[in-house]
Symmetry: D2
């Protein structure tokens, strides 16, 4: 069998009980399913169990639809929230950007390079700056201006584009508009943001200037799911970089860009590969 | 059940085959075994499978001896190298040191504090320097001088002390003598060393001075199992620290001490908790 | 001349003006003063200038008292806050601790080892736990119980001990009592604390539990000067360590200890070597 | 005066002597020169002194040519290797690339964004892959095929292009050809390479595969000046990233790309800003 072949990615979250792993792995073994990568986590605080398996598709005698049908009784028995997806079906990421393109440019390179498997059906911006660069990639660039007066309408349009693009996730790649609560609730666990601070420090506006004023010795960035509570969504990934007294606020902004793009890229990859499971307002990340 | 209670730690390495996880988890589920922590790894290059389970002892209807008896047929069927241990039985670490005590002092603090569960039945040194400090802890300090002439005899004595102390592992906490090949072969996977460089860079003597001469921008330390091939054993853990042009070789030595002690401490903890499995000359570490 | 010999450490903070460096370096050159290490920083925001020179004492034809006398006119001309100290006079650190000794133990090892030059004339604690360990070092251990009723009196006593010990700095090595405002104001820039979070995140009590609840992916520690505003003093040093979903609050506490002790040790060394200059509520650190 | 205005960047390397800083800063002060940023380093091992000053151009009563004329006697007196450059004159970087474009793409973004001040007069490649992407930027893309038979001729052509482009530095952005010794000697301290390992570990071919085989726990990248000795030139910057047993050689390659591009970008910026001084086969980097 081709070990690099197509895989089914099965993710499960459910109450922790004896026999869970046996039931799932027994089901897979019974049908010859070859587990290429496996992760489990028991959260003793909430008595929850989380699991992710990558199974070689070719090793199973049935397709995804039949897998789902056959697995359903087990899922019901253990009260699972679960999904299974085919690794060869690329996730479609709609990218939103404003006037800074370091994250956009980084994601476009990873797409050109297929660093990991994903597609970008559209880039949406409230400015025109990056039209030419995006269109060079053969990707539609859609200008949706946002103003105090048209906010709701603008985001209705953005949601329409997302639906028409058959988006699987919306990536806020330094998109400097606050999303309306109804949109966050419409797409739970589908919107990823990069915040330019090490949350919960310096939530809100101008975090690098806040960091400079406070005199911290490291600055960071946070990739998180967007919820109706601004800067409060479940954290996916964070990283920091060392600064010192010689760095001006402008230097922090410059250093920060490097952290922002790598933190967002890691978060996006994990999301695309179904490595992130929600555990209340925290995340389980099976790297 | 008391979730903080005694656990059985089961580790398995074997050829990768369909049904492995099902067999092990099925066995546990059948007897009500509650898996508190689980890790698996498939090495596709070598077609090997590695697994570690922490099972709540109280959840099983039999003791460790009976577990071993009942598990044997499964182990044989899948050609497993395996072990199971009781987390409440503390591992006994015999610590060897020469004239620098930063790693020794750090380990003694972790023992006083029971940072993780272990005992130190003896500290052996080729110098007298740290007798009083070690003895304050109520731990025997044994001076075994090593010279060009008595090397073999000295290490026979060290092995005797290790056996009499019922040692589970020998920790070279900046022990500046090369162990004879026969001793390394006598205790495979039981001797941990901290090397004061980021191996394979700067193997051999005076690594910080080598690093200074080469002008590297980060220095590191490596915790590894000791084999008959000097500085070539399987790597358990590594870390680095940033230096710059202002740092003299003496500064590198000073910075390096901080990395050495934290890297050794992590390696020792993982060894004590059976988190390290050998995969040829590499390691699988289930953190 | 012996390049490892005694040095004078000159630190200066003043309004930034043309001719400053020329005046200081001209003064030194005129008397043959050999600068071993030099650092300067211009803060353009506040138009302030900061400088630190290490001068080989032997290269100058006069002693420290005469240096001060001769330098005074320059200092006045440029409106300097300045000090000069002899590197061979060890700073005296009074250490305060409660019931966790990882920072204390680390500092005591650095003192035994003279990792950098300092003395510990006294260890003060509101508990008796570490008396024997401290006294083994030949260092006085003084138990000063603190309760809701005797707080002011207790800290008067602590200040008395500090004065009698001729303390140069007070190190709060996980001392779990809030210092009264009057004490902070009595010893400005002399009290160093280690806070067990990456400030300004998780100020206040139980920061690791707060961090766990928020689901951050890195935890940190902060060494700062203590002011009357709790957890708000100028930050000296910070560092972080990566955690993941598998870490319980207890694991965070354990990982955090390693960061706390290294961050505190760096802050203490920089303070002892006069590497930290205050710039309003921020610090300039000449590493 | 406009503090963000044009600056002169003065760098000096010379034997360490009393009076050096006084002479330079006295000269500047005499003419009203405002030092915006200053760094000094004394290497006690080699008795060498290194210095970098950023001076506000507007604060001086003369231009660069006259500065050079007037400074010459001081430079001669102290036997200085020195240069002074105008920060408003952008350095011209000729970028060489083969078939991996992560570093190229990153540098092009930094150029579009003017992350720091530089120009790219030409991109040279031994393959055609990135012509369209480079040309979209309005930058000439020149294909110079290299084969075993035409190597010398190809590199003569590359040197010609570099000269005609008035190149200030040649950036090997994952250029997979070994430069001939004569070219390295023709452009000392002008060619920067990114090596995909933490040198001196894993010099030579396929470093990530070497790293995988050895089982290291961190992988790295090294930015260095190119000399006739392959992978032996002075190191400018290095960084590492943590990996684990779950990472295949392909994963290491993928993780490594992120480190390579950030390490190269830092090295290039420091070179462009004249922050790197050679100290024998090591570097002094004034960040």
């Amino acid at each position: 069998m081709d070990l690099k072949g197509r895989r089914y990615i099965l993710t499960i979250a459910c109450p922790d009980r004896v026999g869970l792993v046996a039931a799932v792995s027994g089901f897979l073994a019974e049908h010859g399913g070859w587990i290429m990568e496996a992760n489990q986590h028991s959260d003793h605080g909430s008595s929850s169990f989380f699991m992710r398996d990558e199974i070689l598709a070719e090793s199973l005698p049935f397709d995804l639809a039949e897998f789902k049908e056959r697995f359903k009784p087990i899922a019901q028995r253990f009260d699972m929230r679960w999904r299974i997806e085919d690794s060869s079906v690329k996730k479609r990421l709609v990218v939103l950007v404003s006037r800074q393109d370091h994250c956009l440019s980084d994601l476009l390179h990873r797409w050109r390079n297929q660093d990991f498997a994903f597609d970008i059906p559209a880039v949406i911006s409230n400015h025109e700056d990056f039209r030419s660069f995006v269109e060079w990639h053969g990707i539609p660039f859609i200008h949706v201006p946002v103003s105090a007066g048209n906010k709701d309408e603008a985001f209705r349009r953005i949601l329409d584009i997302y639906r028409e693009s058959k988006g699987d996730a919306m990536i806020l790649a330094r998109y400097m508009q606050v999303l309306p609560g109804w949109l966050c609730e419409e797409l739970p666990g589908q919107i990823l943001n990069i915040h330019h601070s090490f949350l919960p420090s310096f939530a809100g506006a101008k975090p690098y200037h806040q960091a400079y004023e406070r005199g911290v010795k490291l600055i960071g960035a946070t990739c998180h799911y967007v919820t109706a509570q601004l800067d409060e969504g479940p954290i996916i990934e964070q990283d920091v970089i060392r600064i010192d007294h010689g760095d001006s606020p402008e230097d922090l902004v410059r250093h920060g860009r490097d952290i922002e793009k790598s933190v967002l890229a890691r978060g996006v990859r994990w999301h695309v590969e179904n490595r992130i499971l929600l555990n209340g307002h925290r995340t389980v990340v099976f790297k």
